[in-house]
Amino acid sequence: MFEQKKFTVSHAPFWHVGSSVSTRSYNIIFAALPAVLFGVFTYGIPAVGVIALSVSSAITWEIAFNKVAKRPPCIGDGNAAMIGLLLAMLLPATAPWWLVITGTFVAVIIGKQIYGGIGANPFNPVLVSLAILTLSWKNFLDFNEVLVNYDFSYPMAYPLASLKHFGVFAISNLKPAALLMGQQSGGIGAIFGLGLILGGIYLIIRGYIRWEISISFLAGVWITALLFNMADPAHYAGPVFHLVTGYTLIGAFFLATEDSSSPVNFIPMLIYGASAGVLTVLIRNIGAFADGVVFAILIANLINPLVDKIRPKALGKVI
């Protein structure tokens, strides 16, 4: 009896499609690389410093929390690294070290781990962190103020701030194509629109993000901006400007699509994406902040559990 071979016994199914949480995270990191590299080339070594510190401190916070909470370490899934990278992409290249470390602390610990870790966070951790940083240290995230030492061949005024404070006239000389190619000031990884779009298309094709959310978010921004623009062109910028400036594109492809805080059914995804898009333009045009993406997506995260109740009827459901 004791010589009997021991076989692996488990439950069906005995096949698996081969996906894993880590490949998912690493593919998102890979898709973000074009925009990140462009940011590094534009802003130089300070950007490398912010990115490296952000990624490493996010991983460190995660492993520290694992130790404190006596949980098995989960940094291997790449989610902390992804959070660190996405946060760095939103920050200016000149962000001081303590701001980065505080940001990753808020993102990893307060944004994710205290809710129970990956999959349990009701809000996008990166956005929770950026919202808190924006409210706490407004000046360090004011791109006009912190990027003042950078001088390129193109205007280095933050386009959304110019629009907010000086109106449509101030942005009339900005070409959408140039903005799309990254000729604007902003977060390290948020300025290169083309790279973000390429990364987003890659993620959509590979099935790592839900295209419904990205498309409906962009549609929400476009339509709302268009309506404002049509109502009063002298006051409100056109839809294309809103699409290629600020955090719109990184929001559409990397932030609104965060797995845990976004819906999974078709109609809820459209509602979620569109409402985030609409709110973005509302905040930009009539709200207090220059860019509305962060708060718009956070508010959409808030309605996610509710809209996700709109679901197809299950097979054989009697009611």
Partner: protein, 432 residues
């Protein structure tokens, strides 16, 4: 194993294996030295207060009916001649208990005379008393049509295979059409049910038509051949959550059982050879024929398969099978495939939480909110899962676990929840 496509936007479509136009004969495994028959009745020689009528050393003939107690309904039919070498208890999945009857096979085969004497008379009683343990397994509900809450009005013969990589049922449709035809006639005669449908893949429509049953075509993409989806797609009737197909008056039977039924009366002896697919470590699938009760050890030996430590042996297909823990486990009447996986290529589950990636949502044929369901099941809130997130709509195809990024054993959670809820409600009924 089918891997995720590079283009993840397309959800995986897994097609059932289609049988060749002229399928080769199944490879016949010679009679083993020992067969084991699993009798669907718990073995409890001390607790029952009555002693089993079978004991070690009893001579057994091929085709002999073996019941544990004189008055018990459950029986098996011996597939070999020899002497009983052991009676033991065996616990299966989810607490199902069996009596394992081991028989040392003698050299000369003797046929038991009881069934051949009755073969002229194709009555329900004969079938009920001798032919439920035939290759393919004849379900009780067909033989006692009033046993279920609704009388059975329709019988669906599955000419398709339940799982991927299996061709055993298709082979029967192609190669044994005369036995199937006779079987359908007998079914009509003994049950009085005229509405008999054969579910067949498109390429076997003509062969299935020879059976005399009404042919309906099943979509070749998994999981279309699972009973509840056959009900929806072929019969246009949706089984309400928590009900069975039998509750709606529809009974399912495999085409092999129908063929065995026909063969039994054609040849005057109870068939004992079961066709099934052997799925090797490299994923190749061969059709094999062996007598019921053959231990898998003998089948592996015939194919020079070395089942090593930590490999996985599965009865049934890759999506819905059951893994077993011993090479002594015998081929049973309803075994459609034996699969072995090398320990290096095992897909293992993890204890990671759901990350809400939504892979399971579009792939679920029952449109269940698997991401929410699994959150309830993980913490044991089974009743809430059933009330709010459609636990009972699940048709147990396993696709959610197949695509799960976190590799959660979702299907196992679902089956466990159904089992636990069933236990609770049974306990409540008996307490009242």
């Amino acid at each position: 194993m089918i891997k995720r496509s590079f283009i993840g936007l397309i959800k995986p479509r897994m097609r059932y294996q289609a049988i060749e136009l002229t399928p080769p004969e199944p490879r016949k495994i010679p009679a083993p030295k020992q067969v084991t028959l699993l009798l669907n009745e718990p073995y409890d020689p001390f607790g029952q207060g009555k002693s089993p009528q079978l004991k070690k050393g009893d001579p057994i003939k091929t085709g002999q009916k073996l019941a544990l107690y004189e008055d018990s309904d459950a029986y098996v039919v011996s597939s070999a001649t020899g002497t009983i070498s052991a009676l033991s208890a065996l616990i299966g999945d989810f607490g199902r208990s069996y009596t394992a009857i081991s028989i040392d096979v003698a050299e000369n085969e003797e046929i038991d005379e009881q069934f051949p004497a009755l073969v002229k008379d194709t009555s329900l009683e004969t079938v009920k008393h001798f032919l439920t343990f035939i290759p393919g397994n004849l379900p009780d509900v067909i033989l006692s049509p009033n046993g279920s809450s609704t009388p059975i009005e329709t019988i669906v013969i599955c000419g398709v295979d339940r799982d991927l990589l299996i061709t055993a049922n298709q082979h029967t449709v192609v190669k044994e059409s005369s036995s199937v035809k006779r079987g359908v006639e007998i079914l009509k005669q003994i049950t009085g049910i005229d509405n008999i449908i054969i579910a067949s893949p498109e390429h076997l429509m003509q062969d299935a038509g020879l059976s005399g049953a009404e042919v309906r075509v099943v979509n070749p993409v998994y999981p279309a051949s699972l009973p509840k989806l056959i009900m929806r797609d072929l019969l246009g009737r949706v089984v309400p959550a928590g009900k069975t197909c039998e509750d709606l008056g529809v009974a399912f039977i495999s085409v092999q059982a129908v063929a065995s039924l026909g063969k039994a009366f054609n040849e005057g002896r109870i068939p004992v050879y079961k066709h099934f697919n052997l799925i090797n470590k490299d994923g190749t699938s061969v059709l094999v024929s062996a007598i019921i009760g053959t231990p898998v050890r003998d089948i592996f030996a015939a194919f020079n398969i070395d089942a090593g430590e930590k490999d996985r042996i599965i009865f049934g297909g890759p999506m819905t099978g059951e893994s077993i823990y011993s090479e002594d486990h015998p081929i049973q009447p309803d075994t459609d495939a034996v699969m072995i996986q090398d320990q290096k290529s095992l897909a293992l589950v993890s204890d990671y939480p759901c990350i809400n990636c939504s892979e399971c949502i579009p792939i679920c044929p029952a449109k269940i909110q698997v991401n929410m369901l699994v959150r309830f099941l993980e913490v044991g809130k089974y009743q809430e899962a059933a009330d709010e997130y459609d636990l009972y709509s699940c048709i147990e195809c396993g696709l959610c676990s197949f695509v799960c990024v976190s590799r959660i054993p979702i299907l196992q959670y679902i089956k466990l929840a159904k089992y636990e809820l069933g236990r609770i409600s049974r306990a409540e009924e008996t307490n009242v």
